[in-house]
Symmetry: D2
Subunit: 279 residues, 4 copies
């Protein structure tokens, strides 16, 4: 049995679903899950299909070639049980890292943590406990060196997804250009409020009654990338910035874990500055 | 242009989606929304499709006849813009009634309130304000007479959906047998907790920290019908039963309005004692 | 029996609670509810006390005079059952207005709606239905005239609280200076995100996954006033701006109703650009 | 400086707050936080006060002796920074254990984990990683032996709080009688729904749309103890029992951590079959 996830985007026009489902049907594939979206403003079509059949993936791939061209599709097929290879970057705060390791271990997240890299030592202990490879990075002044090291690591380890689990170094435009659609960051505010540094202090100064966290793709412009998930928690006037940070840890780890799950299940599509999420 | 909503359920087996989508494609229908679910435990398949085409509905209906039989489908086609005709029953508490009237008026709910019926006078003023037909019902002792009146009304007015918007009379088994899959009730607790009478008093006595509301289909067994939507709100030790009731009003009207919206959009399917919701 | 709410703020220093509670005790007042907060950053103390006794309010007031001076207190006493007199301003969207009227009628909000004023006709029907006085305002070009009319109305009707229930006219600095601490506005975004016009369009363009509403005091700087309550609801990529607006109505009316309830119960304190909320 | 938390409960009558606050004032104690509640149905008064002064705790204790007797108070004084000594019991599911360890380590919970005990080996690794004492318990057949071991441990280690972090053994009535008000359990359902075994399976069979978790004190009657905190998360028709369990882990660990925090801060009071929570 071949179980596949098919994702596609293309200019929207009539007949896409019919053409695709006919090919699947003719080749004995049964659709078990199907979601689609037409962005009428930008005339763009998005689809995610889970299907089972007997043909090997490569054969189905060949059968799909004609509609790929005809509709100008970006179409991918993935084995449904493929585990993504993930690189986690972390700086001084380890709550998101610990949470991702735990969720991977208990089977909530269908991924392999191929490596952990950090510009602080904090990640090392957790990597060791979980028997995962750890890579030390330099600080701000070693940005070029760090990114060269990461690029080599990403290539060597066939990394599918890079998770910035409270990684506090700004990445270069070159690095973001190359991997941006594979980099998920967790920002510790309810974007677009409180971009930049120390969002909890900003939120505290403004006197908000809810604080949030946002998981998003990374773009060259800081904290402006397409949003994948967001979460909030109530706060009160009598809570300090430190208390905000404490509450925020929960919100961050949940928003990030959800974004990572959606991504590993191929449920996240880029659509200009926004995302399409088939949850 | 013919815009349709197609709903179907049938025993699950390979080829359903392919067969359906082929017919839609061959007849020039473009799928704009599609959701499906296989209940593997009961081997039952559910699907909702929104599609646009040029053929009249009746012609498509004819083209679908063969697969209807082949797969033993319960298949319905509805014009996408069809407005359901709704009967609202209410007793002493009017918050759900008012909310439904308002949502219908501002266009949030794609329905026509064909009639309001009540065993208390409270509904009359709101019906009058909104220029909607009002029908007075008798009390507990007039159950047979009430249901005869309702049945006549339902038939005469071609009612699609009956909403028990805090209607406190228990319906007879005969009535429920006849209309149960078209009756949505709002129960003022987080079912299955606190079935029966005075759920807020029960919740208060138990000392819960969240109270809830449940919109569900009506079955012969009280408060045991398939659940459509549920909501909760936090409560505190220093709140009285009256304060619970006050908080609960918000939860009830939101849970009920959401259930009604889902139903009017043909997103709710019965599956034994449960529901499938394509939201 | 005299049931009172006492609110006070003053520079923080030791002995405030002791001094106050001694006077209450000596005069036979029993404290039934008590909350306090010390803002250590700004060295400011806030307190709300509910108490019952036999002395008339004026007598207790006199007994409190010495500590008022000694601690430089802003101290107010209110009969616990005093109903605030409220003026509601509204423009084209009536959901918040309707909700406030309903909550007032069912006893959720301890206030009297003394008047409704609007620069659109929409408020008139609801005012008439609820038998409340309605005052027509002019448009943007009549700002001076409108505010003169409102000022006269506020004075004549002894208005305690002005609620901008989706009132789309910007108030002058003079008006805000005079009444700002008595004006609650509902902004249809999760402030500080999406200040200014058409926040739902802004939120849609940014691709957020939660939309919000914020009830806040009005200051001369638009949408920068101290926040009282906030709420959010999830949204999806396939929702239009119109769908955001529809979801937003619920969030707005709940956030606003909660802010009004807190205010009428004397639970809201201004603290520079923030609020202290004793809920 | 002496920083204290004072908790008291007694029959409700006028003058309690006055008497207490006078003694605090006379002895130079400044109240920094104060909350109270009168249960009028059972004529019971509850209060929690945080205060700072210069007298040693024992001296204040002596000064309070007269009102203790006069009002028949259960009154306790605790140093504000006292760290509770906690015993965590766990069986096969380790998510709550891991979460509590992490929160203790990062300073969110003001407690010392004095010991971890388990009837499965799963706790040992985490205890070792965190360098915490681990105690192996026997299975169901060794209940008497287990509880003897636990009792000895509790006494020897001066345990203040026992956390059943998914401990699946039912405790004897004797054990519960002795320690019940110090035992917090996390039940993996929204009580009182789905008491007893396999609540997620029960919830799945009933087709609920929200699943929950409940942290509560342990009483002789299973899952009937006073509720401290509750949380819920939405679920969908297409989720398996396994998916419920996965979602539930998050809800459980958050509800339990919150209950533990409230308890360690002396914010939880027993009131018959309910709790008073001063949050």
């Amino acid at each position: 049995m071949t179980s596949l996830i098919l994702t596609l985007t293309c200019p929207d026009k009539p007949g896409i679903v019919a053409a695709l489902s006919s090919i699947l049907a003719e080749n004995g594939f049964n659709i078990t899950e199907s979601q689609q979206y037409s962005d009428m403003e930008h005339n763009r079509f998005f689809m995610r299909v889970a299907c089972d059949g007997l043909l090997p993936q490569a054969d189905l791939e060949a059968m799909l070639a004609p509609i790929r061209g005809a509709f100008n599709m970006q179409l991918q097929l993935y084995p449904a049980d493929a585990r993504l290879r993930v690189l986690i970057l972390v700086s001084k705060f380890d709550h998101c890292l610990i949470d991702l390791i735990y969720r991977q271990q208990n089977g909530s997240l269908n991924m392999d943590i191929a490596a952990i890299a950090s510009n602080h030592e904090i990640g090392r202990q957790w990597a060791d406990n979980a028997q995962l490879p750890y890579h030390a990075l330099g600080g701000k002044e070693a940005k070029a060196e760090n990114e060269a090291k990461l690029t080599a690591l990403i290539d060597r380890e066939n990394i599918d997804l890079i998770v910035l689990a409270r990684y506090m170094q700004v990445l270069t435009a070159e690095f973001v250009d190359r991997y941006g659609a594979q980099i998920i960051n967790i920002h510790h505010s309810f974007l677009p409020s409180f971009k930049g540094a120390e969002p909890y202090s900003q939120a505290h100064a403004r006197g908000v009654k809810l604080i949030g966290a946002t998981a998003h793709f990374v773009t060259a412009e800081l904290d402006e990338g397409p949003i994948i998930t967001q979460g909030v928690e109530p706060v009160r006037h009598d809570m300090s910035v430190g208390a905000f940070i404490d509450v925020g840890r929960d919100t961050e780890r949940r928003a990030l874990a959800r974004a990572v799950r959606l991504y590993t299940e191929r449920r996240v599509f880029l659509n200009g500055g926004k995302t399409v999420i088939f949850d």
